[in-house]
C-alpha cells in the first residue's frame, strides 16, 4: 500500500534511513527476510521532484505499520493515505473524485469528527486563502462534525509551489497539490522536552536530543533490548535509547565525567532521572582500547550507539603513557602504598585505532542482526567523490547520512548490521592489528590528523588565499545544520 510520506525539511540525509529502520522495527519485512541482504522499502518521488524534496511516496505493508513508523519517527511530518493529487485544483478534484468510494466513505460518516489542515511548502498562505481552499473541497461529501482538537480523522491539503525561493533546494518545476488522510506523524514535542539547554548535566560533546533520537531509531532501540555506548560521556546518546524503552549501559575512560559529574544532582544518573527514565543498567570506567569484558562473553548487546572521539572537539584517550607507547620509557611501577589512589596516565587515541577497536568490540558483542550506529568524521575538501568508510567482515553498512558541520568537515552517521558471526580468524586478525597499532602508535596519531585539517588557518591550506576569499564555495551548503 502506497503512502504519501512528507518529511520535515531538515537533516535530509537522515530521513529515508530512519523510515527504513523503523520499518524493520515494526515488522514491515517479516515475510521477506532473505538471509544477509537487508530488505529495503520501495520509494517513489512525485513528478519533477528532486530526491531532497520533502515529498515522497513509500510502499508499506499496512496502515498500522505506516502509523507506527510515523509516530515513532523524528523526521516524518506526516504519513498520509493519498486521496488525490494534481497540478491544479481542477486536476485535484478529478483525482479525489475518482479515488474509490469504499476507501473514502468510512472516514466521512456522520457521527465522526474531522479537521482539514492546509499546509504549503515554498509559499505562505493567509488564513483567508486557506479558508477558501477548504471551502473549495465541498465536492467531498463530509458528513461528520468539524472538531479542531483531537478529531477522529485528520485531512490535509498540501500545496507545493516554487514561488518565492527554493528553500535551498533545486527548484521544483511544477506546482503540485495533494489531498490525503493523515495516518500518523512525528511527535516533535519530544525535542523541546529533551533539549540540551534544559538538561542538568552537559559536556562539550553532548549529543543533541534530535540526533540522539535518530541514532536510537537507527539502532532499533526498544523495550527488552540492551544498548551500549562505549564513549558515553554525559549519557546524552543513551538518554534517547532509554526513552524508547531500551536498557542502557555506558562506559567512559574519564572517571570525572562518568562518576563525579558536577555534584550529587548533576551527573549521568540525574540526566535520566530528570526525564523519569530508567537508570542505565550499568555505567563503568573502562578503556575502549582494552575492554574489560570476560573472554567467553559475546553477543549480548542488541545495539551499540556512539559518537567516538575524533579529535576535533574532544580527543580520545587510551591506557598507557605517551612516552610508554613510544617506547621511550619502561612502564612506571606503581609503589604498593600508592596503588589505591594512583591515577594512571593515558595517551592520545587515534581515530583509526579507535574505530578499529569499536568494530572489533561490536563484532564480538553484538547479537546477530544487531546494529552498530556511530558517527564518522569526513573532511569535505577531499576531492575523491567516493568516501571510504570503515568496514568489517561481520558487518554490512546499510546507511550513511551526512551532517555538514563546517565548510571543512562533516560527520556521517553510519548504520551497520551484524551479518556474520565473530570467528577465531577475525579475532586473530584483530589481535594482530592491535599489536600493529601499539607498535606504530606515533604514526597513527600523525596520520589523518583531523584537528589540524579542521582548524588550520585558510592561508596554509590555499596558497592563493587572497583570491580564494572571493571565489564562491562550490560545495553544497544546504545539508547544513538546520537543513
Amino acid at each position: 500500500m502506497w503512502f504519501l510520506c512528507v518529511f520535515y525539511h531538515r537533516l535530509l540525509d537522515y530521513r529515508k534511513p530512519e523510515v527504513e529502520s523503523l520499518a524493520h522495527l515494526f515488522g514491515a519485512f517479516q515475510d521477506q527476510q532473505n538471509g544477509d541482504v537487508p530488505s529495503q522499502l520501495q520509494w517513489k518521488l512525485p513528478l519533477h521532484h528532486h530526491s531532497d524534496s520533502p515529498f515522497h511516496f513509500v510502499n508499506l505493508p499496512s496502515e498500522q505499520v505506516a502509523r507506527s513508523i510515523a509516530n515513532r519517527s523524528i523526521l516524518v511530518k506526516g504519513m498520509y493515505e493519498l486521496w488525490g493529487e494534481g497540478s491544479s485544483y481542477e486536476e485535484l478534484k478529478d483525482s479525489v473524485l475518482s479515488y474509490p468510494d469504499e476507501r473514502k466513505l468510512p472516514y466521512l460518516e456522520a457521527g465522526s469528527t474531522f479537521k482539514i489542515t492546509v499546509d504549503s511548502f515554498g509559499k505562505v498562505m493567509s488564513l483567508d486563502e486557506q479558508k477558501e481552499l477548504i471551502q473549495g473541497l465541498s465536492y467531498i461529501p463530509f458528513k461528520g462534525q468539524v472538531k479542531l482538537k483531537n478529531p477522529d480523522h485528520n485531512f490535509w491539503l498540501i500545496e507545493i509551489d516554487n514561488y518565492g525561493g527554493n528553500n535551498g533546494l533545486p527548484p521544483i518545476i511544477q506546482r503540485r497539490i495533494f489531498f490525503g488522510r493523515e495516518v500518523g506523524g512525528a511527535d516533535r514535542k519530544l525535542i523541546p522536552t529533551y533539549q540540551l539547554k534544559s538538561r542538568t548535566y552537559l559536556g562539550p560533546t553532548a549529543m543533541d536530543a534530535e540526533m540522539a533520537f535518530l541514532m536510537a531509531n537507527q539502532a532499533l532501540a526498544a523495550s527488552g533490548k540492551l544498548v551500549y555506548d562505549p564513549f558515553t560521556g554525559t549519557g546524552s546518546i543513551l538518554v534517547g535509547a532509554a526513552h524508547f524503552g531500551a536498557m542502557t549501559m555506558g562506559a567512559d575512560i574519564d572517571i570525572r565525567v562518568v562518576r563525579d559529574g558536577r555534584g550529587p544532582n548533576c551527573n549521568v544518573w540525574s540526566n535520566f532521572k530528570q526525564y523519569g527514565l530508567p537508570m542505565p543498567v550499568g555505567l563503568l570506567r573502562a578503556d575502549n582500547n582494552r575492554p574489560p569484558w570476560r573472554s567467553g562473553l559475546k553477543e549480548i548487546f542488541d545495539a551499540i550507539i556512539c559518537d567516538p572521539p575524533y579529535g576535533v572537539r574532544a580527543g580520545g584517550r587510551k591506557s598507557g603513557g605517551r612516552k610508554l607507547l613510544k617506547g621511550a620509557v619502561e612502564p612506571y611501577v606503581v609503589p604498593d602504598d600508592k596503588r589505591t589512589d594512583h591515577i594512571p596516565s593515558t595517551a592520545p587515541y587515534s581515530l583509526v585505532e579507535c574505530v578499529h577497536d569499536l568494530l572489533d568490540l561490536a563484532a564480538k558483542m553484538l547479537v546477530m542482526q544487531g546494529r552498530l550506529v556511530f558517527f564518522y568524521p569526513v573532511l569535505r575538501d577531499d576531492d575523491c567523490a567516493e568516501t571510504h568508510f570503515p568496514d568489517h567482515p561481520c558487518f554490512k553498512l546499510i546507511s550513511s547520512s551526512e551532517q555538514i558541520l563546517s565548510s571543512r568537515y562533516s560527520r556521517v552517521l553510519l548504520t551497520m548490521v551484524k551479518v556474520g558471526a565473530y570467528t577465531e580468524e577475525i579475532a586473530l586478525a584483530a589481535r594482530l592489528k592491535h599489536l600493529e597499532f601499539r607498535e606504530n602508535h606515533v604514526k597513527w596519531l600523525q596520520d589523518g590528523n583531523l584537528h589540524s585539517a579542521v582548524f588550520s588557518p585558510i592561508d596554509s591550506q590555499l596558497p592563493e588565499a587572497g583570491d580564494s576569499k572571493f571565489i564562491k564555495d562550490p560545495k553544497p551548503k544546504y545539508r547544513g545544520k538546520y537543513v
Partner: protein, 122 residues
C-alpha cells in the same frame, strides 16, 4: 554496579589468564526497584555465568538463588522475580572488585567500577 555488569566484567591485566569472576568486596549495597521485563531476563539468562552470579549475589547479602538452573525455570514467576532482583535491583554502591589471580582491587565508588589499568598492567 549491578550484578549484570559484574557478570560481564573480568580483570584484563596483562598476563592474567583467569580474570573472571571478580570477587566482590561489598561495603555498601543498596536496593533500587526496577520494572521487570521478562523478555530481557530470558535473553540475559542465556548469557549469565550462573555459578559466578550466585556467588556474587551471596557476597552482596542475597542468598535466594538456586545453585543449579535450567531454562525450564524461566517459566516460574517466583524464579524470574528472584533472578530479576539479583540481576538488576541489587547495587554495589561502594566497595571493590578483586582480581582472582593477582588480588588487584578495582574500586567501585558511587556505583561505578573503575576498570582502568595502571601503566604497568597494560
Amino acid at each position: 554496579m549491578r550484578l549484570l555488569t559484574h557478570n560481564m566484567l573480568s580483570s584484563n591485566i596483562k598476563g592474567v589468564e583467569k580474570g573472571f569472576p571478580l570477587r566482590i568486596e561489598a561495603e555498601k549495597v543498596v536496593e533500587k526497584p526496577v520494572e521487570m521485563n521478562a523478555d530481557f531476563l530470558k535473553k540475559m539468562f542465556e548469557k549469565v555465568e550462573w555459578k559466578a552470579f550466585v556467588e556474587a549475589s551471596r557476597s552482596m547479602g542475597y542468598s535466594n538463588l538456586p545453585e543449579e538452573v535450567d531454562p525450564a525455570m524461566l517459566e516460574s514467576d517466583e524464579f524470574l522475580s528472584r533472578f530479576h532482583h539479583a540481576l538488576l535491583e541489587l547495587h554495589l554502591e561502594e566497595g571493590a572488585l578483586v582480581c582472582p589471580e593477582t588480588g588487584r582491587r578495582f574500586p567501585v565508588n558511587k556505583g561505578i567500577p573503575n576498570m582502568l589499568l595502571h601503566e604497568d598492567e597494560v
